[in-house]
Structures are given as structure tokens and as C-alpha cells.
Subunit: 507 residues, 2 copies
């Protein structure tokens, strides 16, 4: 077949015979198969074969697959397969970025199994979910030995490759070859033979720069030149800037009180989205130096902070391949290659490493309650917005764990602070501090009703404080118990929103 691929991308001449069209490659994917794809968020995911499969389905091929990913992926998978009803089930993550898949999940046409992201790879390894029938892996290049040089997202790729019966490789010529060496691929052995993960500093390298695969196991090669379909982050809003300022105040205070090391901060984890970006941009202006990140995904701001000399080392399982990031990277690839390590998802999110390094975990919930439980996934208790992702991995195991969010949503008609979360992803035992634009509630060492008073006072929006205080006063006087809740009234705010479109009382 004619190809644009050359020896820089496909380094063993034997492999050229395996280059096929996406259509041809997609033919091995059959109804009911477990199909694993590379990448993490719209970063490093394959695009050609799934598009071809979707076309075949639209022309009559009977095929619904079980889609195994790192996290959310891009429209060439979710949208294209979503509209033709080609996805039967989905693990371990989904984000509300795609309408047809979201509709499929919330109408329960698509089975979605939400998981802690550190769990999925090992559970594939344990055989909990059956075989990986096909793995489709996007790469920058294939080495002479048939090993895979990845791009901006690692995700669960190494484990998917380990177990795949059929492997299709999409070689994407837009991925800079200079990235080679940025990855650190390490597979944990299964118990009872597992050893420690020997990461003691954010930048430690413990594995191989390639995903080991081998010439024989590569069944098809497809060429690609489609860029990752990155969602643009909106610039921080004033109240997000305020949240970032509150967070930096907290970190400075903790250092002053001797509860954080004095010379430099512990490594930071930062969730996805605009607030996370605002926090990093806030740190850029702070007095903290030599910052380190041990995180899941490295967003745009990480590149800004590396460029500005603020971030010394950053570890993640992917970076966001936005046009800004690629432009910044291209200006000085060596700088970023030295500063960044990309790891498998189960290593970036591993309890062992997070706890050992003492990661400061910063995440954003959908809502949290007066006693300190948090909801990361379900709107009004039922409707999936996005999965729990890695938030549980970091919030359970971090040195200091912070949930930050705006105090309201939907133009003020929803209070993100409620008497009881309508879905619980994080228990009261997992969060130390809550931050909104209103202030900081440090609930460490406080009994439930003291936590409630502080959270309402410091974090709730003034519009909702009286309502929340009234609930607290009611249960304190009418309900016996360590953490008093009135099961008949506890969801009244959510029920009111469902009935009237606002949690506010209408006179």
C-alpha cells in the first residue's frame, strides 16, 4: 500500500507490509468484542479505525463493542461510534463532552461502569473483565523491535497491549518525534509477585521509554495525521481566580504553621478544568518556587509554568495536546523532555506513590455537603455528568486534600453545598479542606456538626446560608445522633430544584 510513513516512524522494514487502510483494519472488530484504545482524555487516542468501524456500522455491520479506554477520548471514537449505537459498554471513565454518548449512558442504552482510574489496569490484569480482544494504539513511531513510542497520552495502553489478542497500531505523523524518551512505562507484577513501585521523587524513571509489544504481535498498521481533538479551556472567571487565591493562602498558612515542609512545597495534583488551570496560573504568581506535580493530566498551564521556571518536574499519565501546548513545546523540546515524565495511569494514580510522595490533592466536586461528603459524578443523584476519575485515588491518599469549586451553579439557582450529597463519591473521611470563592473551611479534627457550621459559614453562598443553617439548627434540635440528618427533609433543596428550576425558596 502507498504510504506517507517512512523509516523515522516505522523503523523495521518488515512492518511496511502490515500497513492497511482503516477499513481493512476495522474488519477484525466484531460484535461484542472488548476493544481497548490508547490515550487519556482527548490525548493520544486512535482516530482512523474507529471512524472506519462507525462507517461500516452505518452501512449495516452489526457491531456493538465494549470500549475500554484511559478516560474520555475524542469524537472520532465517542461521537462517531455513539451516533451509530456502536458502543455496548464503557469502562472506566466518561466525561460529559460528547452528547450522543452522554445520552446513551443516561438513557442506559450504553452500560457504563465507573471506576477509580488506578484500579482498571490491574483488574484487566487480574482477568476480572475477560480478554482484550482488540487494542487500537496510537503511536508516534514503532521501533525496530516492534516497540511503541507513544504520544501525549499513556493511559492504560501498556496493560491493553499486554493482554490484546489483536493489535492495530495507528502511526500519527503529527506527533513530534522529539517526544521519544518522555515516557516511563512500567507494569506492576500481579500479586503475590508484586514489588514496590520504586518512585521516590516526581521525576524518577523506573521503566522503559517504549511500550513493549514486538513485531509479531502487530497485526495491522494504519497511518494517521489527525490532531487530537482538544476541548478549549475557558480563561478563569473572577470567582475562579478568587478560589485560586484562597488556595494559595491555604498553602502559605500550612507552611507557616509547620504542617508542610518549609523549603519547598510537596508535589501537587490538580484536577481537570478551568478551576484547576486558574489554580496553576495563581501559583505562577505566588512566591512558591521549584514546584513539582504528581498528577493525572498536565493541562496547558503546566507548560506555562515550566517555561517560566516555576515547575521543576511534572509527572502525569498525559498532557493536554492543545495548539498552545504544541507551540510551546516546539519552542524548546529539550526543556519539556527534561521536566516531564509520562507514566501509565495506574502509576500516576497509584495509592502507594501518592501517599509516599505526600501529594497535595486539589480537585473539583459537583457538590459537597455540610458534613464533608462530595459528589463528583451524578447530577441530582441520577444523571452521569462525568466519572469519578482519579479524584478518589488522590483524595484518599494525599497528604493534604482539597476540594474547591464555585459555591453555586446554573446562575445561582443551585447551591453546590447541600445537607446531603445526592450521590456520594468521596466520604467525609477523605477531604481535609473545602474552598469556594466565599472562603476556606478546614474541617480537619472537627466533629460533624462543627464541620457543618464551618462549611456553611465559610463556603456556602450568602443566598443559601440561611437555608442551610436552618436545616442544621432543625436537625441539631430534633434528631439524635452523631451526624444528624432528617431523612424526610434532607434532599428538599434538590427536590425543589427539580420542581421549580431553583433551590431558592420562592415567596
Amino acid at each position: 500500500m502507498r504510504t506517507m510513513l517512512d523509516a523515522s516512524r516505522v523503523r523495521n522494514p518488515e512492518l511496511f507490509a502490515k500497513i492497511v487502510t482503516p477499513d481493512k483494519a476495522s474488519e477484525i472488530i466484531l460484535d461484542g468484542m472488548n476493544v481497548g484504545v490508547s490515550g487519556f482524555t482527548p490525548s493520544g487516542y486512535p482516530k482512523k479505525v474507529t471512524t472506519a468501524l462507525a462507517e461500516a456500522i452505518s452501512k449495516g455491520k452489526q457491531c456493538r463493542i465494549n470500549l475500554w479506554t484511559g478516560a474520555s477520548v475524542g469524537p472520532e471514537i465517542e461521537e462517531n461510534l455513539g451516533v451509530v449505537n456502536g458502543i455496548k459498554s464503557r469502562m472506566p471513565y466518561y466525561a460529559a463532552s460528547n452528547k450522543s454518548l452522554k445520552e446513551g449512558i443516561n438513557s442506559r442504552r450504553v452500560d457504563y461502569i465507573d471506576q477509580h482510574l488506578s484500579h482498571f489496569a490491574q483488574q484487566i490484569d487480574y482477568g476480572f473483565y475477560g480478554n482484550v480482544d482488540v487494542a487500537i494504539i496510537e503511536v508516534a513511531a514503532i521501533t525496530k523491535e516492534g516497540n511503541l513510542v507513544l504520544g501525549s497520552g499513556v493511559g492504560n495502553t501498556p496493560m491493553l497491549v499486554k493482554h490484546a489478542k489483536h493489535i492495530i497500531v495507528e502511526v500519527n505523523t503529527t506527533i513530534p518525534l522529539s517526544m521519544e524518551g518522555m515516557h516511563d512505562i512500567y507494569l506492576c507484577a500481579k500479586p503475590p509477585y508484586r514489588r514496590e513501585i520504586p518512585i521516590y521523587h516526581v521525576g524518577d524513571r523506573i521503566g522503559s521509554p517504549y511500550v513493549e509489544c514486538g513485531l509479531d504481535r502487530i497485526e495491522y498498521i494504519v497511518e494517521s495525521d489527525i490532531l487530537d481533538h482538544v476541548r478549549t479551556l475557558t480563561p478563569p472567571k473572577p470567582c475562579q481566580v478568587k478560589i485560586a487565591e484562597n488556595l494559595i493562602d491555604l498553602l502559605e498558612h500550612e507552611q507557616k504553621m509547620g504542617r508542610l515542609p518549609q523549603d519547598k512545597l510537596l508535589p501537587l495534583q490538580s484536577g481537570v478544568g478551568s478551576i484547576a488551570n486558574a489554580v496553576l496560573l495563581g501559583l505562577d504568581k505566588s512566591r512558591f518556587e521549584n514546584l513539582e506535580m504528581y498528577s493525572e493530566i498536565l493541562q496547558d498551564a503546566v507548560f506555562t509554568l515550566i517555561k517560566n521556571g516555576k515547575i521543576a518536574k511534572a509527572s502525569g499519565c498525559a498532557f493536554t495536546p492543545s495548539s498552545y501546548v504544541w507551540k510551546t513545546y516546539a519552542e524548546n523540546p529539550d526543556l519539556y523532555n527534561k521536566r516531564i515524565v509520562l507514566r501509565p495511569l495506574d502509576i500516576s494514580n497509584h495509592p502507594e506513590v501518592i501517599r509516599r510522595l505526600g501529594v497535595i490533592a486539589l480537585n473539583t466536586p459537583i457538590e459537597f455537603d455540610i458534613y464533608g461528603q462530595a459528589n463528583s459524578s451524578h447530577i441530582m443523584g441520577s444523571s452521569m455528568m462525568n466519572g469519578i476519575g482519579g479524584s478518589g485515588d488522590y483524595m484518599r491518599n494525599g497528604y493534604l486534600t482539597v476540594f474547591s469549586t464555585e459555591s453555586t451553579a446554573k446562575g445561582g439557582s443551585i447551591s453546590r453545598i447541600v445537607p446531603m450529597v445526592t450521590h456520594c463519591d468521596h466520604t467525609e473521611h477523605d477531604t481535609h479542606v473545602f474552598i469556594t470563592e466565599q472562603g476556606i473551611a478546614d474541617i480537619r479534627g472537627l466533629a460533624p456538626t462543627d464541620r457543618a457550621k464551618l462549611i456553611i459559614e465559610k463556603c456556602a453562598h450568602p443566598d443559601y446560608r440561611p437555608m442551610l443553617l436552618e436545616y442544621l439548627r432543625y436537625v441539631e434540635t430534633h434528631i439524635k445522633g452523631h451526624e444528624p440528618q432528617d431523612l424526610q427533609k434532607v434532599f428538599n433543596m434538590a427536590i425543589r430544584f427539580q420542581a421549580t428550576g431553583t433551590m431558592k425558596l420562592i415567596d
Copy 2:
């Protein structure tokens, strides 16, 4: 002072000058102090000084302390200080074993802060809760160097000793000196200097047999001969035996399916109580050999299984010092010394080790819901029965995680399977299998409504299946969403129980 202590218990002659009465020692405990005590459950806790303190309070001393423990302790602390209102706050665990303290916590007179047990020691180390003003430590002996030989419970003792400003040692002459060497005391360094915990097999020893203290830091020594006040386990009921049988079926099935190693089982963790004991006694009759335990507390049955040659190695932070256990131990101390390792609580429960060893986690919830969330702590959402303890440490990090319980409580008037737990300690992402006397629900890889069908069918009591199925049918047809819940109806079973004394519909 005249003393029964001799050089076998107090091995440095200088120390004899520090022997005082409990009254004298208790004088250093002042109002508002943080007081740490040794032990874990009623195992290895001090008895004399707290009793003396309670007496002083009853005679007019103004003193309410912040009590820091391993877990629940015995009546010499909880009952004696509880009735004189001597406990201001309590971390990190409490169990419903003591009436006055339970009443104090549920009336919110006592501030109780419930925590994951693997978290507390490191958070003391991080300075989150202030100083350890006084530590009271029960020991078998004090070495020539002033180091402490513990008894049957380690708990958080090493961290409490590390940080204590004042140390009182209770030397208990009933603890067999032959236990010396059973302990393996290891303190994790603080980030950024922390290394791996080098445990690769259940029996690995990585630390010292003593808690390092030093002669100078021991302020007072008090002698004691009071046995630990152990709560008697009831023999397994028929439905608990059935649960144990179901569990063994599960383990055999997993091995057969190749999802567990073939040659021997992975290490077991087993929670506290009668079901846990039934499970172990069930294993005694099973075909499994060379069992290993990596658990929190080692109950009576562990000694039976070691005696019978079924358990090869057992690691915990304490064992239950019942009269049966002491008698069994005394028959052959060398056997148990070789088989058992007692570790600090943050090591017995450490995510790093639990995940590395691939522990099979077996715990008992108060209730669980159709979607897989579990409540370990609060009755009807408000009233504390017992803390989350180590269940979160094991259920989040285990290789295979199982919640087992009877399907009903209170003579059938409560279904332990409900539409939504009234308090969530374990999210749907943390449990693989639920077991009741009715059957086994393996929910791995199932979407929420499929989980619900299976849990209702396999685990719910027949009396409650129609009610639960009706709820599920209702939300499936009326509520849009990945995990449909009707916030107006979701707690109806609990509300009905509160109103009528039963969850059953009365005709």
C-alpha cells in the same frame, strides 16, 4: 515505692525510681490535653491511670481530655471516663461497646472524629491535630535502654510515643514475656523523605521488636495486673455459617476461573465480629491450605487455625486477648511467635502493602444499597454505631473485596439492602462482591441497574425483594439517568422503619 515489678519487667535499675501510684501519674493529665493511649480494641490498652483520672474527676478535678487511641478500648478508659464526662473528643475510632460513651457521642456531648485507621498516625506526624501532650502506654516490659516491649495490641503506640511530651508506662505483669519479639515496629518517614514499606510477604519483618522510647522520656511507671476486658464473641448462627459457606464457594470459583492464584490463596483480611469469625472457622474446614492473613485484628479463630496448621502466617496490629487465646498461646508460645507479626496500625492497614500483597478483603457493613454503596457506621443516617475503622483501607485497596452480612436485622424488621444507604462510607467503586445468607452478588463490570437487579435477586431477603424490585422498576421507568434514584422516595424504607418500627408494609 513498694512494687511487684522485677528486673524481668523493668530491666534498668534506674527506672525503679520512676514507679508511682496511678493517682500520682494521672496528675500530669490536665483539662484540654491530647492524651494518646496504647492498644487496639480492648487489647493492650492502659487501665490504671485512666481509672485514677476518672476518680479524680469524680472528686472535683476539672478535666476533659481529647482521647487518641488505636480503636475502641476497654471500660477502664471508655466507661470510667465516660460516666464522669471526662472525654471532650475522640479520634480515630469508636465502637458501640460502651453505653455512656455511645450516648455521649450520639448526643454530641463528645466530639467524635471518625477516620480511616491508616490515616491517623501519619496525620499526627504531620501536625494536623497538635501535640500529644501525654501518652499512656501499656507494656509487657521496659528494656535496659528504655525501649518498650508491647503486649497483644500495637495500634498507634509508636507514633504516640514519638510525639508525646509526657510518657506514662503501665507495666502489666499479666502479659506473657514470651511475646517479646512478636512485634515489628516500623515508623514511616514524613514526605518528602518517605521510602517504600519493604513488606513483600505477610511475615516480613522490617523494623524493631521494641517501640523506641529511651530512659529519659519515661516520666512515670505504674504497675498493673488487670487483664484486657475482652468482649466475648457469640458462636456463629446458622445464617452466619451459610454466609461463610457462600464466601468459600466464591473463593473456590475465583480460583477455578483463574482470577486467583492456583497454588495458594492470596492473604486474607477479615473484619471484626461473629461473621468474620464464622468465615475463618469455615476456612478451617475448607480445602485451602497454607492460608495467610494480612489483617487489622486477629480474632480467636486465627489461633485455632494456626493450631490446626491451616494458617501459615498472620499479620495484624493486634490480636484479641481472650482467655481462649491466652490459653491456646500458652500451650505453645513458639508456634504463635513464629506465625504472627504484630505491626503498627498504619502498616497493617497501609494501602501500599494491601495493594502490593493483593489482599482479599472481607468486611461487614451495616447496610448496602442496590447500586453497591455501603454504610459501615451510622444507623438511619444519623446515629453512630461504630466508626469506619479499617474497612475503607482494605475495601479500596484489596485485590478482591467482599462485603458480607445477614440480609436483615432486628428480627427481620430491617432490610440491610436498601435503595440508597442512609450514610455512605464505601462508594460503588470499592466493592466487588456482596454476600448474604441468601446468596452471592458479583457486581464487577456491571452497570448500575444491572448491579441493582443482581443485588436484589441474590442478596435481599425474600420479604423485601418485591419492595426493592418495585422501587427499581419505578425509577427505571420514571427517572432518566445512569443510576436512577427518586430523591422523594429513596429513603422511604428507612422513614417507614422510623415511624412504625419495621420497613415492612403493614396492610
